[in-house]
């Protein structure tokens, strides 16, 4: 076994954490280190911890939650085969299994680098829901106000984008955000933030937003050149 005390992986459901070290303090330390490195990416996302057979105590659960809270991450689910742990986790109001429809959406193979991976979703993304993904995100459906998509790569919404979208979350300024109907409350590309002018109803045509000349510019999609 290698020395990494934890593995962290972005999935469609949230961040997947697998503790490897059996020393809880080491696990927390490694997690905090990882969260610090990409704070902006993780903020507001949710975490799933896969425990296998290992037992978790109330104190350990509490310390994990406290750490996640500092980074504004929700402990969403703890997957465990240990009955005592399952009971403990449930009594803390945390899921112990993933809702069925999302379970199938496991992350693609780790063979490809993140920027070549893509997540494909077909749903309405509703207020309070968020997708955090290291690669590109394609959504067939609407992103409603109060919902957000944060992607390391590009974001394509085949529908109306009314919520928040952040492309290039790791700093890639070449990424773009496309939507059939682009009327987001806010878009971010890498470190840039764009806000729709108040009262703008958006264009009736599909638009692409990207960085041009140091700011985010949205223009109607068309054949260029």
């Amino acid at each position: 076994m290698d020395e990494t005390p934890i593995t962290l992986k972005g999935t469609a459901d949230g961040i997947l954490l697998k503790p490897r070290s059996h020393v809880w303090a080491t696990v927390l330390e490694a997690l905090e280190q990882a969260l610090k490195e990409a704070e902006a990416f993780f903020r507001g996302s949710r975490l799933i911890m896969e425990l296998g057979n290992r037992e978790l105590t109330q104190d350990q659960l509490a310390s994990l939650r406290a750490l996640l809270m500092r980074y504004d991450i929700e402990l969403w689910a703890v997957l465990s085969e240990n009955e005592t742990t399952v009971r403990l986790v449930r009594s803390n109001g945390v899921l112990t299994r993933l809702p069925k429809d999302t379970e199938a959406k496991k992350s693609p193979d780790d063979v490809l680098p993140p920027e070549q991976q893509a997540l494909f979703l077909q749903q309405t993304l509703r207020s309070g829901q968020s997708i955090h993904y290291a690669g590109n995100v394609t959504l067939i459906g609407d992103v409603n106000p109060g919902a957000e998509i944060v992607a390391g790569g590009n974001i394509i919404v085949w529908g109306t984008l009314r919520g928040v979208a952040h492309a290039g979350a790791f700093g890639d300024e070449e990424t773009a955000i496309c939507a059939l109907d682009l009327q987001p409350s806010q878009i971010r590309i890498a470190g840039y933030i764009g806000r729709a002018p108040d009262g703008r109803r958006g264009s009736a045509e599909p638009e692409v937003a990207r960085i041009e000349g140091g700011q985010i510019v949205a223009e109607v999609w068309g054949r260029r050149g």
Partner: protein
């Protein structure tokens, strides 16, 4: 066969959940159905007042859960319809007095003796909401044509979908055609388009609703109330009847002139 358990929810407070619960309870009773309405808003009970049954409460839902009374004793029979019952919330307790299992047990027991069980959910998305929707076969989301209410409704629908709870249908309440005409209110199509769930009824704004609620005589009992008629239509749709939607979008000039409201 056990009856259908329907939870009335909204996310945002003050959009008409309790009004809808009381009126749908009566609408179903008018159709001859056996109905039990459960007030799940522990600590802020209102349904009894709206149904005009406040002074008949002897035991409440917490009394039953804690084993202080039998199930039937916790039910208050309506004064108008002998097959309409209400179970009151406890006013002196809070929502932590009930677990998901408790509420599920109460709802299932009520379903044994009813065709429809209506659960009036507390506002919010916390514990109260969660136990209220847990036993539901169907959740009716009440919203107003206002941006804040629609946003909260969207959040609630998202939670129901994510946790694979019951399917949701929409009641658009307090709709005012004249405000939509002046672009001061979201029009129904925009709301339905955004929320992307089935519509089960649009209830027009009706001043009679206020007085009716205060007097414990919901508008569903009022032949001449437009809101009452809308609620009765939703009741009929709940029983599976195919009731066409009234075209209350835009009244024509002539209709306005002759006051067809």
């Amino acid at each position: 066969m056990a009856g259908k358990i329907i939870t009335i929810s909204s996310g945002k407070g003050g959009v008409g959940k309790t009004t809808a619960t009381a009126n749908l309870g009566l609408s179903l009773a008018i159709l001859g159905k056996r109905v039990t309405c459960i007030d799940a808003d522990i600590g802020l009970r209102n349904l009894d007042v709206m149904l005009g049954l406040e002074n008949r409460i002897v035991y409440d839902i917490i009394n039953f859960i804690e084993g202080r009374c039998r199930f039937r004793q916790a039910l208050v029979r309506d004064k108008r319809f002998p097959e309409l019952y209400m179970m009151a919330a406890a006013q002196t307790r809070d929502k932590n007095s009930i677990t998901v299992e408790d509420m599920t047990k109460v709802a299932r027991e009520a379903a044994e003796i009813s065709d429809f069980v209506l659960i009036d959910s507390p506002a919010g998305i916390e514990h109260g909401f969660r136990y209220a929707v847990a036993p539901a076969d169907l959740v009716l989301i009440v919203t107003n044509p206002e941006v804040t209410a629609v946003r909260d409704a969207d959040r609630v629908i998202g939670l129901l979908e994510a946790e694979e709870l019951a399917p949701a249908q929409l009641i658009l309440n307090r709709y005012k055609p004249e405000l939509v005409r002046r672009n001061e209110m979201l029009d129904p199509d925009t709301v339905i388009d955004l929320l992307a769930i089935d519509l089960i009824g649009i209830v027009p704004e009706d001043d009679k609703v206020f007085g009716a609620g205060n007097q414990g005589r919901p508008v569903a009992l009022d032949e001449h109330s437009r809101a009452g008629k809308a609620f009765r239509n939703i009741g009929r749709r709940l029983t599976g009847e195919d009731v066409p939607f009234e075209a209350l979008r835009k009244q024509t000039f002539i209709q306005r002139l002759f006051g067809s409201r």
